[in-house]
Structure formats: C-alpha cells, structure tokens
C-alpha cells in the first residue's frame, strides 16, 4: 500500500494483519464504500461503550431487588430501562454468583464478548492462553487474578460459542450495607464481570 492515498498510517513497521487492514480501509474509502467520517464515528461509538455500563447494571441490581429480578429475567429489557443500548446483542444472559457458585466466561472459538455492556475485550480475553486455560484450568486462572476458592465452591465456566452473550453478576462485597449505588459501582470491575475475580472489597485509591 503506497502512501499516496493520503491516509494516516503509523510510521513504525506494521504487522501483516495491520498492513492488510490499512489496505482494505484505503480501498473502501477510495471506492466510496465508506468515508473517513464513517470510520471515525464508528471508532467513537466503540470507545463510548465501557465497563461502566456493566458496573451500573450490577450496582443497581445490588441495591434494588426488583430491578435485579428484572435484570436476570430479561437483561436486554433491563438495559433499556436504564438507558443502556444493548440492542446489538442477539441475546444477553446474566450469571449470578453466590457464595457457593462462581461463574467465568470465555469464548474458546473466537472472542465473543458483550461489547455494548463491557466495551472492547481486554487483549488477554482474546489470547490463546486464556481461551485454553479458562476451560482446562479455571481455578488456576482465577488464582492468577487473586481469587482462591474453596474446593466445595462450584465453578461454572461458560464457553459462549453461539448467540448468547454473558455477564457475570459478582457477589456484593461484605461490609457495603448502606452504600450508594454510585460508590458500589466503583467496586464492579470489568474482570469481575468476566468472572475471573470477585468485585473489589473497597474503593481503589
């Protein structure tokens, strides 16, 4: 791909796939299929979706039992109720952790992820290492994230291979009775909604 298309390309050496993506982008723009503005709008749309959406849902479910029941019964409707656009998801299912049950989500086939709720997946979620070991050694993966579970706790690893996208609803930490929804949301990390760790015990510095 030559530089005379007028697009910005990084100056450093590009990987094979990066070169391919830039070549496709340049051709799509050159042929008038999409515009630079379309690309920028899409980037902004993708970046606007963050784990704050999931944290909002979980914190609200912690403080409002009626909302929690609706969230578990029909997660997409619950999103619409509080202004989160989950319409891009085919189906959306909540996995509720309890003291005796922990859920963990992976997509071993690719990198299926509830992007409207959690934003872009972390690189490790897409790595071969996680995709293999989350299934073959979930307790080992959880240990690396600092979560050590007793043997009699039931670990349920969900391999999201099809049309269903999953979010884990972590346990509400002990000692947070009476906290505001906004403060509780600060405890709900992205990783706790993938299920590799629990919610934070206290608000980070």
């Amino acid at each position: 791909m030559s530089d005379d298309h007028g697009q910005d390309h990084p100056k450093h050496e590009l990987s094979y796939y990066a070169k391919r993506i830039y070549a496709m982008r340049d051709l799509l723009v050159e042929k008038g299929v999409i515009t630079e503005k379309d690309i920028q709008c899409q980037i902004e749309y993708q970046e606007a979706r963050t784990p704050a959406n999931g944290a909002h849902l979980v914190a609200k479910a912690w403080v409002d039992p009626a909302f929690k029941a609706r969230f578990i019964a029909d997660a997409k409707a619950a999103c619409a109720e509080i202004g989160i656009d989950a319409t891009a998801l085919n189906e959306f299912v909540v996995l509720e952790n309890t003291p005796q049950v922990r859920h963990m989500v992976v997509c071993t086939l690719c990198s299926c992820y509830p992007r409207p709720i959690l934003g872009r997946p972390p690189d490790w979620y897409k790595s071969f290492n996680y995709r293999q070991r989350s299934v073959s050694d979930p307790r080992g993966v959880m240990r690396e994230f600092g979560l050590v579970l007793a043997d009699d706790v039931e670990v349920r690893v969900h391999d999201s291979t099809a049309d269903i996208r999953y979010i884990v609803m972590p346990l509400r930490p002990a000692g947070t009775e009476g906290w505001s929804e906004a403060d509780l949301a600060k405890l709900v990390t992205r990783d706790s909604m993938i299920g590799v760790m629990d919610a934070l015990p206290m608000i980070p510095e």
Partner: protein
C-alpha cells in the same frame, strides 16, 4: 433462571442426558473440539436461532436450530476433576446432540 427466548422446536428438555456428536467437516462449526464426543445434560433451552453454519456462508440460516446450554462435569471432559462440583457449560445447537438413555 431466565427465559426461553423463542419457541423451541428442538428434541430435548432441561435435564435430558445428551452426547455431543464426534464429527468434523469443513465449515463454520460452533461446537468446540474439546467437547465433541462428550456426555452431559441439558441445563437450559435457549430457543430457536438461525443456523450459524449456514449464515457464515451468506445463506439464510434456515431452518432455525434449537440452542441449548449443555453442562458437563470436568471429569467427563478432562479426565480429572477441578473442584468436585465444577462444570463447563457450552452453548450447543440441536443437530450436534444425540440422546443418551
């Protein structure tokens, strides 16, 4: 927990014992290799969905296939247990499953 999202025309109901077909063929197969040939049970019936094995090739995805949440014990899949109650759960379409007595 949760609802059956569409009317489900599939052969199985919650609790039925099933075995995943051990098959392979070229295409956009959504059944992971590690679970093929393994036995588990239907944890939940999700409903009928367009068939991704057809959608991936620009076809209409019809007829729809019933999608299930299928649960497996770790000992069945990996020959050893993690915690004794631990399970791996995979979303699998009807045509990949055989009934177990």
């Amino acid at each position: 927990m949760g609802r059956t999202v569409t009317p489900a025309a599939g052969r199985f109901k919650t609790g039925d014992r099933v075995k995943v077909k051990f098959e392979d063929r070229p295409g956009h197969l959504r059944t992971p290799w590690y679970i093929r040939g393994k036995s588990g049970w239907i944890e939940r019936v999700y409903g009928d969905f367009l068939n991704p094995e057809l959608l991936a090739f620009g076809k209409d995805g019809l007829p729809k296939k019933t999608l299930y949440l299928v649960a497996f014990d770790y000992s069945e899949v990996f020959g050893k247990s993690q915690g004794p109650k631990d399970k791996v759960l995979v979303d699998i379409y009807d045509h990949w499953l055989d009934a177990l007595a």
